[in-house]
Symmetry: C2
Subunit: 193 residues, 2 copies
DNA sequence: GTTATTTTGGATCGAATGGTCCAGAATGGA
DNA sequence: TCCATTCTGGACCATTCGATCCAAAATAAC
């Protein structure tokens, strides 16, 4: 077989720009014309590479989930309070640094499209679960190590933390400033005692 | 002047249906054709009464804010813990009862349109402030009454509560079930001591 | 060099969009 | 009764949407 003409663009590079655009403007508000312009590739190349708009959106969402939205590891050799504080602080820092895009592309996707898009819904539920499980495991370890009191319920605590993290998504949109968001973290993490 | 032919529909009734549609599908995903069909009035009547789509959206949003999304009073003669628990529980109950529409129309509006719509942004910031102030005032009173410990910071606590409330918006979308959401409330409210 | 295959981007498609026009129906005042 | 005014709903408009077509350019295998 012949290899013919090679692509003139890098797929992942283009996808990153698509992530940025969808992240900032959402699905419906982003037209394929906007995409062609922002991606800097031809219309036909775009359709050939990614399929239709919906497929491009899912590809961008998955790229986000494996990149900026990736689930960091939770090593057990770090004090749990410091660790959780760092995770939350990172989220706040990102929200303050990029107020124009929401805190989390997946969260925005869930709000906009969960009702009409099972693929988005599936990813959102899956990621919510992963997040909850990661927190739960870490908190169980912390409980076993005596880092947190024995009266704590790791699973409930984990859900609580995920909920707080989700709350930051909206709080950050109202006030993307450290002076507003940091005190929320203090109270949120104070339940660990 | 003559009065001519009276309208055949009730403005608020129609607006309620518009709220329901925008609430469920968002702004971009709702077409004016959908609106005409769902509202049961003629296209021209719709435009004559509310102006264009954007104006209709803002009218619906304001109707929501004065109706289902209205800020309840926070009387000081009710135990503050029971009061807050009731507020949060009401939100959860509503989310469980209507999983197809998000927890709060304003929250969805903020996520979808804040970046490109100053009017929406303004309403979201204003309401966030109102909510925070209402909680703050109630918590200050509770502190003065000795209902909560003297070490608490009412303002920080209020922001924390608003953040938790916002978090429910997303948590409820992932799992609109009491078994999942109720434990979150327990932990959230446990910071009051 | 020739050829087969692929990329590329402009042209273009039908459908859907938000919005307007207009003729006719319905009403209250004279 | 007649008229002025308003409401109503179908027809209609220009634009934009997502998506496709097609001819020209570019490349690897032969």
């Amino acid at each position: 077989q012949t290899m013919a003409r090679p692509k003139e663009f890098d797929r992942d590079e283009v996808l990153d720009r698509a992530v940025d655009l969808f992240w900032r403007n959402g699905y419906e508000a982003t037209s394929m014309a906007d995409m062609v312009e922002a991606l800097g590739i031809g219309r036909q190349s775009l359709y050939d590479t990614f399929g239709d708009k919906h497929a491009l959106y899912l590809a961008a969402l998955d790229r986000y989930l494996g990149g900026p939205g990736a689930l960091g590891a939770l090593p057990v050799d770090v004090p749990v309070r410091k660790q959780l504080r760092a995770i939350f602080q990172t989220m706040v820092d990102r929200a303050v640094a990029h107020p124009e895009r929401g805190l989390c592309m997946l969260g925005a996707a869930a709000v906009e499209r969960c009702a009409e898009d099972d693929e988005v819904s599936k990813r959102f539920c899956r990621r919510t679960h992963e997040l909850e499980d990661a927190f739960t495991r870490r908190l169980e370890q912390a409980k076993a190590d005596g880092e947190i009191g024995a009266h704590h319920d790791p699973r409930g605590l984990a859900r609580y933390l995920v909920n707080a993290l989700y709350g930051l998504q909206l709080s950050a949109r109202a006030h993307p400033r450290h002076a507003f968001l940091d005190p929320i973290l203090d109270v949120t993490l104070s339940v660990l005692g």
